[in-house]
């Protein structure tokens, strides 16, 4: 068998997380709503209505363009894409076409093998979503709730080389979208949808062969599987002397199978022309600069900085930059306890992550502020409390909103490091165990651990273990 290379381009539809739809004041997200309950004359295309552009859509679209390092178009336009379909109530979709909000750009995708794949973006354009059609009991049912939901369509160049890479791209895109706050990017809810164009060629060749388009791949796993499956099919086909034809394929996630939807021999003519009901979208140099300047440090840059600035492992830095709020949390906590930034990372990777998971919260939603976390770690490190108390404090602070120091004081959680108090407790333990004291003094030094355990028990876990050991050794060595 020849050595083949798989060539993949992805077309993603990203639902922007604006409050209202792109051209009317219906709320943008209809998740869980009854069909046709979140519609108005504008989004359901009644005669005589006119679109009014939601400025927030432009702002978020431009932020995404900036984050993709695309060129933000100072003057972009909306066009009409004309076609008939029952879930398209106006009979045309208002969409950007030849002058979209963003052109070019790229995203660097780190691959598991350590390499980075630069995925170039052809363009990003804004458009309105159509409704949903489903067939039930022999009837075609329409739901217009989704009509007018703001989308960014972002198309990559054919720069991806495997199902895994495509999956990585989507993972990174999802991370970025949430990071910059323009989309919830929840694939299950259709906030991030993906079509994949797949073709194969002999490795070393530079031609682009006939591609197929896979629709309906709406989870990361589906993307990986569907592309892998389609590449395998194309290779087998070509190896057996066949020829790849231009198909649209549907991915059935339940059965992990591709099926042919329709052949795509002729391109549809959408008869694009400028939407006369809307004005051009003009962004001044100043506005574009403001958008660029307002862009946060992006995840990969922050990951690299966490590694170098705090000496974190690549793995830790990766986890801590999985969400922007988590990495912001980390940096604030680390700043409060700069000497032990690495220790802060360990606490976050283990105990804080568990807390977030248990509560289903993101880091920015916690009552337990990063400063509180730093304070708790510091108290443990300084021997004011033991590690187990520190861990239990995370939850207590989160539940009560009280400061860690106050909780330690109120609940008497502090370690007994005061020599007099500890000494008298230890003396009591030794007095109650004359046999063991004798054995120790006779040379059975392994009993030290047992003595420490007894002291811990009698103090209810509050004895400072280090000091306990010192005092024990001192008292046991006296005759």
């Amino acid at each position: 068998m020849k050595d083949y290379e798989v060539i993949i381009g992805l077309e993603t539809h990203i639902q922007l997380n604006t409050k209202t739809k792109i051209f009317c004041s219906c709320k943008a997200d209809s998740w869980g709503d009854e069909p046709n309950t979140n519609i108005c004359p504008v989004c359901s295309g009644l005669p005589g209505v006119l679109p009014v552009l939601n400025a927030e859509v432009i702002r978020k679209g431009a932020i995404l363009a900036a984050a993709m390092r695309a060129q933000i178009n100072p003057k972009s336009f909306f066009d009409r894409k004309n076609y008939f379909y029952p879930d398209l109530p106006k009979g045309y979709q208002i969409s950007q076409f030849d002058e979209p909000i963003g052109k070019g750009g790229y995203m660097d995708v780190p691959l598991p093998n350590g390499e980075t794949r630069r995925v170039r973006i052809h363009n990003l354009h804004l458009e309105e979503d159509a409704g949903k059609t489903k067939t039930e009991h022999g009837m075609r049912l329409l739901d217009f709730n989704r009509c007018g939901v703001p989308l960014v369509e972002m198309v990559t160049e054919p720069d991806l080389r495997s199902g895994d890479e495509a999956a990585q791209y989507l993972i990174r895109l999802r991370q970025l979208l949430r990071w910059i706050g323009v989309s919830e990017a929840d694939m299950e809810r259709g906030h991030l949808r993906c079509d994949a164009n797949v073709s194969i060629r002999e490795r070393g060749s530079t031609v682009l062969n006939t591609k197929t388009e896979i629709k309906n791949v709406n989870s990361i796993d589906s993307v990986r599987q569907a592309i892998t499956e389609e590449a395998r099919r194309q290779i087998e086909l070509v190896e057996s002397g066949g020829k790849v034809e231009s198909f649209t394929l549907d991915w059935d996630a339940d059965r992990s199978k591709l099926s042919k939807m329709r052949s795509k021999e002729t391109e549809a003519d959408y008869r694009y022309f400028r939407e006369p009901d809307l004005l051009p979208v003009v962004l001044s140099d100043e506005e574009i600069e403001t958008i660029k300047a307002g862009l946060p440090e992006l995840p990969l840059a922050r990951r690299a900085r966490l590694e170098s600035e705090y000496q974190l492992s690549a793995y830790d830095a990766e986890i801590l930059t999985s969400e922007r709020s988590l990495s912001d949390y980390y940096e604030t906590a680390a700043a409060s306890y700069a000497a032990e930034a690495k220790s802060v990372a360990n606490w976050m990777m283990n105990d804080l992550s568990r807390l977030l998971n248990d509560l289903g919260k993101t880091a920015d939603q916690l009552l337990l502020k990063p400063e509180n976390l730093a304070e708790i770690i510091r108290m443990v490190d300084e021997g004011k409390i033991n590690a187990a108390t520190g861990k239990s404090l995370l939850k207590k602070v989160e539940e009560s909103g009280k400061s860690p120091a106050k909780l330690v004081e109120d609940e008497g959680l502090g370690l007994i490091a005061d020599s007099d108090a500890l000494r008298s407790q230890i003396e009591a333990v030794l007095a109650g165990a004359p046999d063991e004291v004798a054995s120790f003094r006779a040379g059975k030094e392994s009993l030290l651990g047992w003595f420490v355990g007894q002291v811990m028990r009698s103090s209810g876990g509050k004895a400072d273990p280090k000091r306990t050991r010192e005092i024990l050794l001192e008292l046991l060595s006296q005759e």
Partner: protein, 533 residues
Amino acid sequence: MNLTALSAFETAQKVRAGELNANDLAEAALAQIRAIDGVPGSLAPGILESAEEQKVHAFIQVTEELALSQAARVDRKIAEGEEPGALAGVPVSIKDIFCVEGTTTTAASRTLANFIPPYTATAVQRLVDAGALILGKVNLDEFTFGSSNESSAFQPSTNNPWNTDHVPGGSSGGSAASVAAQEVALSLGTDTGGSIRQPAAFCGVVGLKPTYGRVSRLGLIAFSSSLDCVGSLSRDVRDTALMLQVMAGSDPKDSTSSTRPVGDYLSALQQDVKGLRIGLSPDYEAVYYPDFESGAVHSEPVQKEVRDAVLRAAETLANAGAEIIENVPMPNTRYGIPVYFVISRVEAASNLHRFDGVKYGYRTSAEINDLNDLYRLSRGEGFGPEPKLRILMGMYLSAAEHASNFYQKALKVRALIRSDFENAFDPEGDYWLDALLTPSTATTAFKRNAVLGNSVLMQYSDQMTVASNHAGVPALTLPGGLDESGLPIGIQLIGSDFGEDTILRIGHAFEQLSTSETWRSEKPQVLQGEVKA
């Protein structure tokens, strides 16, 4: 007092002063409609009595209950000392292309024969809020596609009140006829290539196409969105100023509506025309049209009586101190119709996509096998010949393989047409006009069935008006005389962007200066049987 002959201005003044009540005005208008309008337009008119041929047939639907309830509201406000609005008690008709909540809005098409919108057009709402009484929805060419009213799916279509053998023009033919026949004082119309001004001229009334964006388009069922303007029809210029005053101004629901402050149109009328520069252009003396076999361009001079009326008006204005500037070149005017064919058809085809039998409007009752059947039959049965023709042409012209040859080129020529006006009105330019004076139409009203069926020739009746739609500038038509068969002649004043105040001022001055002319005392045929008050 003959209530139906009163102007809107006088009516509102008397109602506000408590001299008239709105209910009497509504009843008088309803009586006038009953007396002279005849059977309303319908999809299945059956065989009509011959007497119906002499009727106006402006209305598709008379909204008696609505008018009476609005009148009651005005009268209650007056009784309670509340502000009743600038149009208190004024009877108006609405071209049946505007959505009025709870009222059937047909666009004169079978497609929308049963469509009842859940919202009201902004312009209509502003009239109602100002105390106007909505007497009903008036006929038009189907979806506004025509210049004679005859293409309406609701027959009989409207007749010209001056001579019922003639068309009222179109597409706002019902609007123009209802005003001329004193069924209402004002009518709300739309003008995409001349659809207010041509029927206003044919029916001897005043019609204004404001600057694009001056009046909100929300609720107007779109024909060609970049050309459609909402405007007024009335019997004198002061009423036009009053109606514009009420309707003009930005609308947050129409992104293309202008946020520019609205002028004081009524005050503008008090100024005379001394020193105003009014242009005449040789490019408005003939209609140019291509021979579709050879491609050669023919020209047909404007009807002599129409041309004479324009020159007479120029002389009248000059005598009052206006400066007449002759030979203003408007060289791209002649391309107005070809460009209009392209732009308006492309936009119309797209705007009509939504009428697909799926959500509202006409759906075929024939057996269907698939989605295509539903579309094909619903649209095929729902649309009349003129929409079908425009859809086909628009689809063809906007197809990817043709768009650069036609649509893109048409946009460039449209920009040239606009530049003609910019040059003429440029304060730093050679002409620095305040207005251009032209004929409103090349001929007076033609006979029924004379042009119907020739879609191209019908379109060329808009040649005097269409350029201002391309350019977006305001244009006013007002009566300028009668031809020898007694049909009205319209003269047109075209202004610069948002220069409505200036053209209204000139138009009003001309009215005042010509009150004593004999043609002013002539009345439309349908009113001649009336006892003079």
